[in-house]
Symmetry: C2
């Protein structure tokens, strides 16, 4: 059964990859289309389009009706990556050079802009009576993800950020695009208002669980499995859920000084310091607290699925949650 969903996911992923490789009808100006072909063929888990297709099926729709929309949300996601990578001065993405690095800043700005237009162009090929609501859901996703990035940038320089503010930010930056995917899939499948609501709540909660898990893995992962050195977020001085939670609960001055030095020095350098912070996280139950939050959000997400009538659709999305949280595959 689980294998079936994995096969289904792989099949959908292949369709999406294939469509992404042939989504443009032209190749000039090269300043725009070369970098876009480069990034769209550069792999990725295609989580968002698959969530959209699964959501469409979960309300009884035909995934074939949702292919264009699925491709468009992946294009939208890549638009955010191109521009975020400029802002974060990131050199690499999925193991390849970023566009602003391989070409230049202007090419990255412009090809990103064009990609957003081209994403709408693809979305609008969808045949559905609900096209206005579908386009609205897509648009809300863009606005939310931009606002999330805006808060993220503000939080980088803001002294005090509470765990609650952090959750608000990742809700916008990560969850709301998943919400758009679930909503668009459901609308294409002509879902009733209640089913849309359940799927939206599911996507929002699974997104929060996913982001907190991402923060947690940075400190608890097995380096071999993880494929990179642990503590990368601490090295960069990133305000993660764990760090903000720890700052919120530490009551021993010495511990507080260590944590605050991460922010003051904009990151840690020594492995020894990383180890010290990990110890603090353990001592103050920050790791358990993160695990609890992930579990709480996942359980809540899956509870919303129980309200869906279609058992097959429900099971595929439960499998999707597990896959997203790296519990299966």
């Amino acid at each position: 059964m689980i294998k079936d969903y994995k096969d289904k996911y792989t099949g959908y992923k292949e369709i999406i990859d294939d469509k992404l490789n042939n989504v443009f009808e032209k190749n000039v100006p090269a300043e725009i289309y070369e970098p876009l072909i480069y990034i769209l063929s550069g792999g990725g888990k295609r989580i968002r389009p698959v969530l959209l297709l699964f959501s469409c099926e979960a309300v009884g729709g035909n995934y074939m009706d949702a292919i264009y929309a699925a491709v468009s949300v992946e294009m939208l996601h890549n638009f955010t990556l191109i521009h975020d990578d400029i802002m974060d001065n990131a050199d690499k993405r999925r193991g390849k050079e970023t566009i602003h690095k391989k070409w230049n800043r202007d090419v990255a700005i412009l090809s990103g802009d064009a990609l957003l237009g081209l994403a709408y162009n693809t979305l609008l090929k969808t045949k559905s009576e609900n096209i206005q609501q579908i386009t609205q859901a897509f648009t809300e996703g863009i606005i939310e993800v931009c606002e999330g990035q805006g808060f993220d940038k503000e939080f980088e320089v803001k002294g005090n950020v509470s765990p609650e503010e952090y959750l608000m930010m990742i809700n916008k930056k990560t969850s709301q695009l998943l919400v758009s995917c679930a909503k668009i899939g459901a609308l294409i499948g002509n879902a009733d208002a209640n089913s849309i609501k359940y799927l939206v709540n599911y996507a929002e909660h699974i997104g929060l669980a996913f982001q907190i898990q991402d923060d947690l893995l940075d400190i608890t992962a097995d380096e071999k499995k993880f494929g990179k050195k642990i503590g990368g977020d601490l090295r960069e001085g990133k305000k993660t859920y764990l760090l903000l939670k720890a700052l919120d609960v530490v009551d021993v001055k010495r511990d507080k000084i260590i944590l605050e030095s991460i922010l003051a020095n904009k990151g840690l350098k020594d492995d020894e310091d990383i180890f010290k912070v990990k110890e603090i996280y353990k001592r103050y139950d920050v790791i358990d607290s993160a695990l609890n939050e992930i579990e709480r959000y996942t359980v809540k997400a899956n509870e919303y699925l129980n309200e869906l009538k279609n058992k097959e659709g429900r099971d595929s999305l439960i499998w999707f949650s597990d896959m997203l949280l790296s519990r299966s595959t």
Copy 2:
């Protein structure tokens, strides 16, 4: 009569300005909404929204139905300005500091991105049976303007650019957004296919006339009336219609060397050199050729209007052409 259209334009402009000043329902994150409120309240002729409203009326529609769409095309236009100003390293826009200058590069990228999403959000408030085609026309405008900017950037570093390539580029960069405005207005007014075609052709041709006139005024304008020194494009080494046309026709080596030095040195410094180029432009009839092209495109644009049934709408758009080409007001 002319005064009536001017009053009408002024009235519509006021409505647009007012809506733009109140278009956002929130003001955080400040990184996004502060610069957007700043740029949208910074003036401008509001040519695109007015063309959209006039086009709606020219096919018998009610301009009230098109207000959201009109506001959205001005938001879209400002999105292009924010990002173009980064790429052009421009310090000023409409006499005020550009966003990337007043804030920084990242704020300009992100607030521009958000503005595009917010523009769609505003467009989608339009109530029309044609909403899918309307959103498609809006999207085509974005893609065309990005492609135009891409070609513009490529032409900056390309050795030989023909006047025909230049026209293709300004068609994309300037005309096609006007085309979107005319089409959206017509679609909201439930125009028949022919009327849409006439308005689209009108907008395309008037856009070309407008851009060539912009290039021409840089060299022929009265400095006092123009409000800035003439020859700015030559000082920047910009490949304008006049320069490319001149490069195409000069047959005396000495003249060719002068023109090519503009590109080689990336612009002229001395007023004397500007004067020399102006003399070359005159000697080879480049100025007359530009005047002819402007006239030819304007006549052609207005000919398409003759096909429209509504006399009042026709006259308002002829007035609009004159206004755009600074022949009235």
